[in-house]
Each structure stands twice: as C-alpha cells, then as structure tokens.
C-alpha cells in the first residue's frame, strides 16, 4: 500500500512539474486531488486494513495530498509570474502615443520665468499700450528736443501726427521706458514693477536686427536706496535664465532717462570669458542697460527727486533667448514658423 502511495506521489509531482498553463494545472489538480483521483481510490480501499495501517496510511495519504496542494500552489504562482497580458509580441522601440502638442512662444516662456522671479521679490507686472505719444516716449524721459531717436529714421510715427509734437505726435513705442512714468502717475511711489513688452524701431533688418523686438524692464522707486541694489535684480534675471550664477560687470553707460547710467555685461558663455568670435574677443557680452532714474523723469511722474530715487534695468528678451538657445536669426521670433516654434517645450 505504502509503495503504491509513494508511486502516486512521485508520478503526481512529476505531472505537476510538467504543467505549462493554468488550464493544464486545473486539469492536473482535478486528477491528483479530485474525488476521482488515484489518491481517493487508495483511501477508499483502506477499509480492509488494520487500524494501525489505516492510521499510518491515512496520514501518509493526507501528507501526499498536502504536498500536491502546496506544489500546485507554487506551480500556479510560477505560471502567473511568467504570464503576460499580451497575447502577441510587443516592439518596445515603437514610439509612444503623442500627447497634444502646443507650446508658448519662447519669448513668452522667458517672460513668464522672469515674471515668476520678480513676483517673488514683490514686483508687480505692468504693461503699457503699443501706441504712445512723443510726450510719453521722449519728453517725459528727458530726451533732448533734437535727440536723433525722435526722427522718423528711428521711430515709427503714426500717419497724420508725424509733424506735430508732444501728446499729439503718436508713435509705436520705441522702448518700454515710457510705461514707467504711466505706472508711477497712476500708482505713485514707492513702487517696484516690471513691464515686459514689444518695442518698435525703424531699422534695416538682418539676422541680428529687428524692427519689432521684445524687452523686459524693471523699475524700483523708493527713498534712500543706492543704485548698487540694481545688481541684485540683474543677478535675479540671469540666474533665472541660465539656472546658475553668471559673472557680470557693470560699466559706464549713458541714457537720457538715467543719471548715472550703466551697461551690464555678462561673461561670454560660449568661451567662458576667454574671448571668442561671439563676444568680439573680449570675453564679455553686453546684456542690459540700466541706471538711476533721472530726476527729470521723476518730475514727469509728479515725484519729488529730493525724496525719491530708483533704478531701472532693461533686458532684450530676444537677445536673451538667442543666447540661451543659440538661435542665430532674430527674425525667427516673428516668423510664426512651426518648424522653429515646435523646438520649444
């Protein structure tokens, strides 16, 4: 009897071992542990045995059944582990399904990045309209009456107003700075705000020159502050744009609406300041002008220059984006060309 059981066991375990699928497994399970299994048959024939034999054979049979059940359980787990939801091969190198395309213009991306940085410093965002007047674009900003920028060779004047002057002479704004006085007239001081936007100049265009381009300007007006705080704003911008601290220098510059004015250069990122073609071999690239707001500009904004002071910085967004990504033609920004725009995420 015992030998028979051992035989059943050996045969059964061998059967389980050879099972490949869950269906086969169920088949084998029935065969080995079901009511009609050999094991059951053996147990049924036990009635002719002595009590001791009954006991020991019974124990052995139960043990075998347990062993079958355990082995089946393990086999089942083994089969499930090796199963795939796929019933055919899959090429993992095929491209994934496209998500909806679309992107902000790279200039807008840069603008929003800078807005975020300046918002964290408590700046407001302001925007002036595209069309302004000579008073706001030039007179308020301490431009001399005969400054060349006032000529139609430089500024786009609106037809019918070009021979007039002051508030009657209208133009597409040649810079953002006019907006600073508009803001200050409306909100007064102290103030800290940025005013990004597009400006327009009558120029011949080429890969480095545009008639319409984007600037980002910031102004702080407060009491008793020093121009040297301007450096913090500059660092903020560059760190935001390039993701790390960028070496800068501040040097003498001149603008009608500042006194003193300065130019800010950043280390040339192409050559690391050693000098290359991009930086005209001097290791520095001019990135932004800035300066202390001229007392005459404060007066235009109805603010007392004895009480208030402040400083500007202005940055060319086109130039910054070009430097950031190595874009070699400024005209691409207005091209509306998807081959260009799709490159920006």
């Amino acid at each position: 009897m015992k030998e028979k059981l051992e035989q059943i066991k050996a045969k059964g375990l061998e059967q389980i071992k050879n099972v490949k699928t869950i269906a086969e497994l169920e088949e084998v399970r029935k065969e080995l542990t079901g009511k009609k299994s050999e094991l059951s048959e053996v147990l049924k024939s036990m009635k002719d045995l002595s009590p001791e034999e009954k006991k020991s054979t019974g124990m052995l049979a139960t043990e075998i059944k347990k062993s079958f059940e355990n082995t089946l359980q393990l086999k089942e787990e083994e089969i499930i582990d090796s199963m795939s939801v796929l019933d055919e091969p899959i090429d993992l190198t095929l491209p994934g399904k496209k998500v909806a395309g679309g992107a902000l213009h790279p200039i807008t991306q840069m603008k929003y990045d800078l807005n975020d940085a300046f918002l964290s410093l408590g700046f407001e965002v302001y925007s002036e309209d595209d069309i302004s007047s000579e008073k706001y674009a030039f007179d308020n900003l301490n431009f001399a009456k005969n400054h060349p920028a006032r000529q139609s060779m430089d500024t786009y004047w609106i037809e019918g107003t070009e021979e007039k002057e002051g508030t009657d002479r209208l133009c597409l704004r040649p810079h953002l700075t006019g907006g600073s006085v508009r803001y200050l007239l409306k909100h007064g001081a102290p103030a800290r705000f940025v005013y990004p936007g597009e400006v327009y100049r009558n120029e011949t265009t080429d890969a480095r020159h545009e008639r319409a381009f984007f600037q980002y300007e910031a102004l702080i007006v407060d009491k008793n502050i020093s121009f040297s705080s301007g450096i913090v704003m500059i660092q903020t911008i560059l760190e935001k744009v390039f993701g790390r601290k960028i070496k800068t220098r501040m040097r003498e510059g001149f603008f009608p609406f500042t006194e003193p004015g300065y130019e800010i250069d950043m280390e040339c990122l192409v050559c690391g300041g050693k000098g290359c073609k991009v930086c005209n071999h001097n290791g520095w690239i001019e990135v932004m002008p800035g300066g202390v707001i001229h007392p005459n500009v404060l007066k235009s904004a109805n603010l007392d220059p004895e009480v208030w002071t402040g400083f500007y910085i202005n940055i060319g967004l086109d130039r910054l984006v070009m430097m950031r990504y190595g874009v070699d033609d400024v005209r691409l920004f207005h091209s509306g060309d998807l081959r260009f725009l799709k490159q920006f995420k």
């Binding site: 909806a100 395309g101 679309g102 992107a103 902000l104 929003y112 807005n115 410093l121 408590g122 700046f123 407001e124 965002v125 002036e128 309209d129 595209d130 069309i131 008073k135 706001y136 139609s152 786009y156 004047w157 609106i158 037809e159 019918g160 107003t161 070009e162 508030t167 209208l170 508009r182 800290r192 597009e198 327009y200 008639r211 319409a212 702080i220 502050i225 020093s226 121009f227 040297s228 705080s229 450096i231 913090v232 501040m250 040097r251 003498e252 001149f254 006194e259 003193p260 004015g261 300065y262 005209n280 202390v292 001229h294 920004f333 207005h334 509306g336 060309d337 998807l338 725009l341 799709k342």
Partner: protein, 807 residues
C-alpha cells in the same frame, strides 16, 4: 574714434606696469567702451630694412628682377621682385617669410612664405607701401614702385615700424559711447579721464604768446547766437610741404591720411584737443574780411566735391566780402582749398552753436569730424587751446612763418555750471561712504573745483562739461560712481516691506489663457508684426478705414497697423501649410482702432488699443475642426477662471463661411467670433486642400475671477442609470432643441454622435444621446427605468418629432 596711447602719454605719465589691455578695460568700465586694442607694431613683425646688393635680370620673365638683398642676417638672401625702381645700394622694405602683408594693398593680410617665381627662389618680398600698411606715407606711389628708404637713417635688419613711428597701441573707442561727452572727442580729454582713473597728474596745455600789437584781422559775426567765438589768424610764409614723420605717423595710426603740413596740423589739433579748425588760403578771402552770417534763402554754395547745395536761413555760412566760402563748422567750399601755390593762410578757430551744426548737418549723409564735435556742444575756452596748439605747431614746422594779423571775437563765453551736493546725498545714493579725500581727488582730476562746508560740497563744473553734460548733482554723483567703477560697489540687498501680496488678476488671466491654449488645447503661440501686408487685410475683408497708418512704414504695402489679428494669422497659416497639413496656432496681441483713449492723462488722446486673441485649427475635416474650435471657446471660461462667455449666431464676420460661424458674447455684447474660414478667403490667400477653423476675441472684455470658483456637490448615494438612445430626427431639429426638450426629465444629457448615411432616410439624421437618470431613493427596477425612458422618448417625439431608431 581711435586713440593713440603715445599721444596720451604726452599728456600724462601712465602708471608703470600697466598693460594696454588693462588700460582699455579700466576705460571701458569707467568712461567709454573700448572696442579694440590694436598693437600697431605687431603688424610689422618680420618686416625689415633690406639693402639691395645686386640686381639681375630674371631669365624667364621680362618684368621681374632677381635681387640679392642684405637683410641684416649672416648671408644675403635672394628675392624676386617686379618693382620698377630697383637699383643696387637701394634701401628697401623686405617682408621675410612669416610676415603678413596685404597683396597689392587690397584684402586681408596674407602670410609671406619662401617660394619660387618662374623657377627662381624668392626668400620674401620687397614691398610697396600699400602692401605693408604704409600707403598713407606714399600717397603718390605708382603701382609698380616699391618703397625707397632713401633719406632714412637705417641699417639692414632694422624693423620698419620704428622708421615710421608705427610703435604704438591704438584704442578703438565706440563712438556711440562718446555721444554725451563733447570733452572726450580729443586725446587730451581721454588723458584727463585716465588721470582721474589712475590718480596721476594731467599736464597743462602750453599757451602760445601772440605779439601784443598785432593788427586785427577783420572778422564780423552777424549772428552772434550761432557763433560764440571766432579766432582768425593770418599767417605768411606757408607752403605745401609735408608734415614731419611723427605727425604723419600719428595721423595715419588714428585713421587720418596725411596730406600736407597745414591740413595735417588742423587735423592733429582736432584729434589732440577736440577743437576743429580750418585754414583758408589767404588769397581766396576777398577783401581780407571774414563774415559769419545766416545764409540767404536759396543761396548756393559750391562744395569741394563740385556739388552745389542750396542753403536756407537756418544755415550758417563763413563768407568773404563777396560770397560764401564754407558751411560753418561742417565743411568747406571749393573756394577755400589749400593749393600747391598757397603762400599764406587765414586760420579759423571757432565755436558754433551745437543746434545750428546739427540742423545743417542733416543735409549730408555723412558727418564730418568737425560737425560731429560741434554738434555735441563744445566749450568756447577750447578755441584758444586749439589756436595755441596750432600756432605752436606751425611755428615748429614752418620756422620762417610769420603771424601778420590776429583777432579773437568772443560774443558768448561758456559759463561754468555751479552745483551744490550734500554729503548725505552722496552717501545714500552711492550706498557707501566715500572719504572726502577720494571725492576731492576724483572731481579735481576731472577738472571740477570744489569746496566743502557743513556737509555740503560747492562744486564748479569745468567749462568742457558745462555745455549740457553736467547740470545737476546726480551728474556729479554719477562721475564719482563711475570713476570708482560701478563694479566696485557691492550689491545691496533689496529690502521688501510686505504691505500686501501682489495679485493682479488681469495679468494672471492672460497667462491662464495662453497656458490653456498651449498646454491643454495643443496650440502653438506665434507673434506677428503690428504692420500688416495689405493683401491679407483685403482678403480678410477688414475695413481699412478704421485702421491706423504709419507715416514711414517698413515697406509701402506695410503701412496699415492691425485692427484685427486675422490677417496676420492668415499669413502664418498659408506659410506653414508648406510644411504641415494640420496644426493649431494662436496669437495674443494688441490691435488698434481710431478712437479716443486716454490711459494716463487727459491731454493725451491715443487710438483705442485692445488685447485680442486669435487662434486657428487647420485640418481636413471642416466640421471636426469647427467643433474643436467651439470646444476651445466653450471651455475657456471654466479652465481660465473667468466669467462665463456665450456662443450664439448673431452676425457673420467678413472672413467666415456663410453657414459655420458663431459669435462670442459676454453680457449680451459681442466680443468675438468663431467660425470656418470662407471659401473666398481661402482662395485669395492660397490656403488649399484643407480647412481652417478660426476664432478671434477681445480679451479685454474678459472678467477674471479673483479666486477659484469650484462648487462641491454631495456625491449621489446610488449610481446614475445611464442609457444611450439613438433617435431619428429631421435635419432642421438642432441639438439645442433636443437638449432643452428633455432637460427636466433627466439628471444629465450628453451628445454622443450624429450620423447620416445609407440607412437613414433623406432629410433626416440619426442622433445618439446619453441620458443619465438619478435613482430616487432606492434602486430602480427595470420596469421603472423603462417607464422613465419611455416618457423621455414621448417628449422627444412630441417636441422634436424624433423617434427611436429601429435597430
């Protein structure tokens, strides 16, 4: 402007151990931008004196000679040369292999190498002047002539740069950075800046003593507003000789071609002290009298280049008793040239008003060096400095010359500006305390006079900074800051006082809209120009009457400024169709219309300017893209957190398809449109084989919510019962009618599908809708559900004539 450091060193002793690059850097940071540092001698490496020992015929070439030349090395070298003036014993300029020369004086420098010419070895070149940067010294050089160094003290092997004084460093300064500094347009002014930067003394300019009782030259200034000072000196004993080598080489290095001694002296003085001057041949001045007056309207002047210009009363002319000889401070006329037979001159050293020069200067495309200086505003004191330097140089170069007459007519003197600057002002604005000694040193070096009392400086501005440059205390502070170098000030942290957080809903809304379109709806943002090509405006059917025009547009057909973003979008679509079949673009910018808009003050009336948004979806299936565009608009308010906008058919915009358009409204005001582009517009703009859904909205009409407006509804206890129904309805029945008819009977109704086809009778359509019914209290039995559905179908039949489709 080019600055010779050799000439600078005449005026100051630069600190020792300073490299030229450091000087350029220090100047760039503190005064003006130096574009380039040019080491002049560097160009002359391997260019040496040679002595021709022997000249032989070339066996294979008629025009070439073979020269045996001593170039100061152990052995003489053989050089093949085509020069027409070769002779034995001649001292010549030899460029050895490795030297860089300009072939025939044209193009970029090329490296000389040992070569064979028609079979004969040539170890270098015997050079013509223009080939070795010396063309200025040999203006009459014949093409085949090489430099003959006769008269120079030299020996073979000497570097040629030394012979011509080409041992110098020249700084190229960006003229733009000089535009506000009239005092820096001469070397002396630059030297003054360096004296302040390095704290070294500036040498005084020497005066020239005029004999007391000289007769006066007759000068009459008729318009004393425009001419502030006029020194006229009549000098005899002049001829057409060349200026000395040192002067020629200085002029050559700073980009001025030497001509003759008198012209060179006037140029030299202008570049040394920044004062323009002019020499007339004295015999050309009729009546020995100079008159400075306004031109008459229509008066004509013959210029040196033989062009005649017509003058107006705004132009100031220098005249003799008969007629005009030149335009004051700008350029001379034909009549006044210095000629080979000139024996005596009248030297003009004058000061003219900047405005006059600028006004008249506009007539000419190119500004003369004199005009550039005058229009910046020169001080009148400089006139004497210029005259003194010129007279000293004339005496030096023409020792036999005699001053016959001298006049100084001086109607207006440049007054020194006076400014008070408090110490406290300087401390706060500079952000740190600068010792009084340092302030005194900086300002005194720059020519300011100052005294200090009770915390305040009494400052007198030098004349050369008093012509508009320095007028207020901020200017003085700026001078101190820049000489210390802006870079030397530590960044002061910006302090913030939190009164309120920055929350600008309109600014945020713009961003939400752009991000919604780009990130959720898959649009690419474009930027377009404000001036629009006329053909696109016409194609879009936009009324140009309301548009603003530019006085001087970038091109004749770009005069109109946008009153709608549609035309520019059409252009972008048609261009992108070359590369893509399907795409989505949007453009968010200002548009302009005639009107009355006063953003800042009542006196300023601007056109109406609004932020508009346009977007397009380009694709083949017209209906699909229309509904996609409609969906973009319908969902905008929800995702951009702004007040509801609605869509209804009110009025067809010029560019839209006759059937497929909807107006966008807010509070019953039409603020935009969405629609398919009409066949007409697509034909005109060459948009082919595709369709375009387009929308345009005035975003200034949007009202952003101040915060999110989500609403919470308690979750239903039991699941909704959903049922899809396919019904047949007449074509005229709209979805809206269907939806409205059963709204009250269901919890929700959704559109699933619309179908026309074989199984559907003509004039009908099949619509599938999903209705969701709420369990009331308990789970509904299937009978209850059927009962509800039947009642829905009954309503649909009654109100819309729609029947359940037989499957």
């Amino acid at each position: 402007m080019k600055v010779s450091l050799n000439l600078i060193r005449k005026y100051i002793d630069l600190p020792e151990g300073l490299t030229d690059e450091q000087i350029a850097y220090d100047m760039t940071l503190r005064t003006v931008e130096v574009d380039e540092v040019e080491n002049i001698k560097q160009k002359f490496h391997d260019i040496v004196v040679g002595k021709i020992l022997e000249v032989k015929e070339h066996p294979n070439a008629d025009r070439l000679r073979i020269c045996n030349v001593d170039i100061g090395e152990a052995e003489p070298v053989q050089i093949v040369c085509g020069g027409s003036n070769l002779y034995e014993g001649e001292y010549v300029v030899v460029s050895k292999p490795g030297a860089e020369v300009v072939w025939h004086g044209q193009g970029e420098p090329v490296k000389v190498s040992k070569t064979k010419m028609r079979g004969e070895v040539s170890c270098g070149m015997i050079c013509a002047a223009s080939e070795v940067y010396l063309g200025d010294f040999y203006p009459d050089e014949n093409e085949t002539e090489i430099i003959d160094l006769k008269g120079f003290e030299c020996k073979p092997g000497d570097n040629v740069a030394d012979l011509f004084g080409m041992t110098d460093t020249v700084l190229e300064i960006d003229n733009k950075s000089l535009s506000n500094r009239p005092d820096l347009w001469g070397h002396y002014g630059i030297a003054r800046e360096l004296s302040a930067i390095y704290d070294v003394p500036l040498k005084e300019l020497q005066e020239f003593n005029i004999e007391r009782d000289l007769p006066k030259y007759n000068v009459e200034i008729k318009d004393t507003e425009k001419c502030n000072r006029y020194i006229a000196v009549e000098i005899d004993g002049i001829d057409n000789r060349k200026s000395p080598m040192w002067m020629q080489s200085l002029l050559s290095k700073i980009g001025q071609r030497p001509i003759n001694a008198i012209v060179d002296i006037t140029n030299y003085v202008m570049f040394a002290v920044g004062q323009p001057l002019h020499a007339f041949d004295k015999t050309h001045v009729s009546g020995e009298k100079i008159i400075v007056r306004n031109a008459e309207n229509g008066e004509e002047l013959l210029l040196l280049d033989n062009n005649t210009i017509k003058l107006t009363t705004d132009d100031l002319v220098i005249c003799d008793e008969r007629d005009a000889m030149g335009l004051a401070g700008i350029r001379g006329g034909k009549k006044d040239s210095i000629l080979p037979d000139t024996k005596g001159i009248v030297l003009e050293v004058a000061n003219f008003s900047a405005d006059t020069i600028r006004q008249t200067g506009k007539r000419f495309a190119e500004k003369t060096d004199a005009a550039i200086r005058y229009e910046k505003g020169l001080d009148t004191q400089r006139v004497k400095e210029g005259a003194d330097l010129a007279l000293r140089l004339i005496k030096e170069i023409f020792p036999e010359s005699r001053i016959i007459k001298y006049t100084d007519v001086y109607p207006n003197e440049t007054k020194k500006n006076k400014i008070k600057v408090s110490e406290e002002f300087l401390d706060t604005r500079l952000g740190k305390k600068i010792p009084q000694e340092k302030i005194k040193q900086i300002l005194t070096s720059l020519g300011y006079e100052l005294s200090y009392k009770n915390g305040e400086y009494d400052i007198t501005v030098p004349t050369w900074r008093s012509t508009g440059d320095v007028t207020i205390k901020d200017d003085v502070m700026g001078d101190i800051a820049r000489i210390l170098s802006f870079d030397s000030f530590e960044a002061k942290p910006i302090t913030i006082t939190f009164e309120h957080s920055v929350k600008q809903n309109d600014v945020l809304l713009e961003r939400r809209i752009k991000e919604y379109l780009a990130e959720r709806c898959g649009f690419y943002e474009i930027f377009t120009y404000p001036w629009i090509e006329e053909k696109y405006i016409k194609s879009a059917g936009i009324d140009m009457e309301k548009s603003i025009k530019l006085a001087t547009p970038p091109a004749p057909d770009l005069a109109y400024l946008r009153s709608s973003l549609i035309p520019a979008m059409l252009e972008a679509i048609s261009k992108n169709l070359r590369y893509y079949d399907e795409f989505k673009l949007f453009d968010y910018e200002e548009v302009y219309k005639k009107g009355d808009y006063r953003p800042s003050s009542n006196d300023e009336i601007l056109p109406i300017q609004n932020n508009y948004l346009t977007g397009c979806i380009v694709g083949k299936n017209a209906k699909e893209i229309f509904y996609e565009a409609k969906g973009v608009i319908e969902n905008m308010a929800r995702y951009c957190h702004m007040e509801e906008i609605k869509l209804e058919k009110i009025e067809k915009p010029s560019w839209a398809d006759i059937n497929a358009y909807l107006n966008i409204t807010k509070n019953d005001e039409t603020i935009g449109t969405v629609g398919l582009l009409s066949v007409k517009v697509m034909t005109e703009t060459k948009i082919k084989r595709t369709n375009v859904a387009i929308f345009e909205i005035n975003c200034d009409k949007f009202v952003p919510y101040a915060s999110r407006t989500n609403e919470y509804e308690k979750l239903p206890g039991l699941p909704l019962v959903e049922k899809d129904l396919s019904i047949l309805a007449n074509e005229e029945i709209t979805w809206k009618q269907i939806e409205e008819s059963i709204k009250s009977k269901v919890k929700e109704v959704e559109f699933v599908d619309e179908y026309r086809g074989n199984q559907i009778p003509e004039g009908k359509k099949s619509i599938t809708l999903k209705v969701k019914i709420l369990n009331e209290g308990t789970t509904m039995t299937s009978e209850q559900i059927n009962e509800r559905i039947n009642s829905i179908l009954k309503v649909l039949d009654k109100k819309c004539g729609a029947k359940l489709r037989e499957e």
